[in-house]
Symmetry: C2
Subunit: 263 residues, 2 copies
């Protein structure tokens, strides 16, 4: 509800994410889905998702087929498919006979996304901890967590820290032995990027975060699936609370623009 009229919680998020586009490019998420498969709809979907995550398409904004078709020099067919893909990933909302608009989630909905993510990441990390072949993943995972430790100490390295967390998450999802879960996580990855960084703003939070990651690696190494799941869930839940707090503080200034009866 209130998709069109809401106060655009994500606008304030996007203003804080000037480096998101770079991050997306470096993440490999784009290349993994677009370059390998030369599918036209997928390429378009990827490019559009970059714009939404980076904030050049504002929440609530309409996304019209004809305009995109003209811009990408392509028919409306592939555009339609791309928009359905984005809808599946929760980046746009398609209203029947009225087209697509960039999703503008309420704080409650952001919380919902984190809750689901906590479960999915919990399962992912548990399965990984119980995987006999987990050593190969740990080999690339551990140096990355070490990098994290370095960035956490330095208060200035906020961007690097976020990128490192993103990379770790990508490695873990990539290694997930459950293909169905992997699909869902991939679908979540895009929208996750929209606000996952929000909770890591303070050095305090980052120190806690790095501890969680270290504990997680430890749990995976000793094959303790239950612990891995618990830690992963705690981590995402903490991240959720940080993000919610940041969103609530950010949303407060724009107080109650409800029915501006007269200017």
């Amino acid at each position: 509800m209130t998709i069109l009229q809401s106060a655009s919680i994500l606008r304030v998020v996007n203003e804080a994410l000037d480096s998101t586009e770079r991050l997306l490019a470096a993440s490999g998420l784009a290349r993994a889905s677009a370059a390998l498969t030369s599918s036209l709809p997928e390429q378009i979907s990827t490019r559009l998702s970059e714009r939404i995550v980076a904030g050049s398409y504002k929440p609530g904004q309409r996304v019209m087929e004809q305009a995109l078709a003209a811009e990408f020099a392509v028919s409306r067919g592939p555009i339609r498919e791309a928009l359905r893909m984005l809808e599946r990933d929760g980046l746009v909302t398609i209203l029947p006979r009225r087209g697509a608009i960039v999703t503008d989630p309420s704080i409650a909905e952001v919380k919902e996304i984190f809750d689901v993510r906590a479960m999915l990441n919990g399962l992912r990390d548990r399965l990984l901890a119980e995987d006999p072949q987990r050593a190969t993943v740990l080999a690339v995972l551990e140096p990355e967590v070490a990098r994290l430790t370095r960035f956490a100490r330095d208060a200035k390295k906020g961007r690097e820290y976020v990128e490192a967390v993103w990379t770790i998450n990508r490695l873990l999802t990539e290694a997930c032995p459950n293909t169905r879960l992997k699909k869902i996580l991939d679908s979540f990855a895009r929208q996750t990027l929209r606000y996952s960084q929000l909770g890591l703003s303070t050095p305090q939070r980052r120190r806690e975060s790095v501890q969680h990651w270290q504990q997680l690696v430890e749990a995976i190494r000793r094959g303790d699936g239950a612990a891995a799941e618990r830690i992963a869930r705690e981590r995402v839940t903490d991240s959720r609370d940080g993000a919610i707090k940041a969103l609530q503080q950010a949303a407060r200034p724009e107080a109650v623009p409800k029915m501006p009866k007269s200017a």
Copy 2:
């Protein structure tokens, strides 16, 4: 892998499900998504999913756009969209430039689906237990679980039992306060129906199942989220093991039809 050549584990499943079509019609899953929205692709997708779940479309079978377009007296456009929806729900697999085939999951993949479902149902039931307004759901839930108890005693009422379980699951998902989770669960519902009934074949299993449901209702009533989650996960995990066992036994007779060099 081995999508086209596999021994069609689900064929044996489908043979056991002569009443699935009726179940689907009674479930409201069809009506909920098809009748309300007069969207042509959605209607088609629903009808196709019924055929796949009921088994009139065999696993591995190709599903071609032109044929469906002719049958439904519609262009290929809506058919394409319907097939993408089915792909999203895991009922068909779309190979680029080669079209769609009915998904033919391996036993390992069925296990994967159950694992994800265990997590999602766990979250769903925990959220419901922590929902202050859960009383209204419990009011309709409890008589349904009571029905379950009756069917569990009678060894003949296998079909009724399965239908009742399905109804309960639908009620719980419907009441889920997390809209994002609800979407994913809806997407899982169709493919779940394909083999969820497999684990409930023996009266022994059914008695255990009914106990789980009673405990779950109890946990929800007293607002014990952690317990509700634990019970839900156990329930799905048990169901998983039952289904896997049934699949393995069913698959054994058709032993190794590998390279039939000569007839």
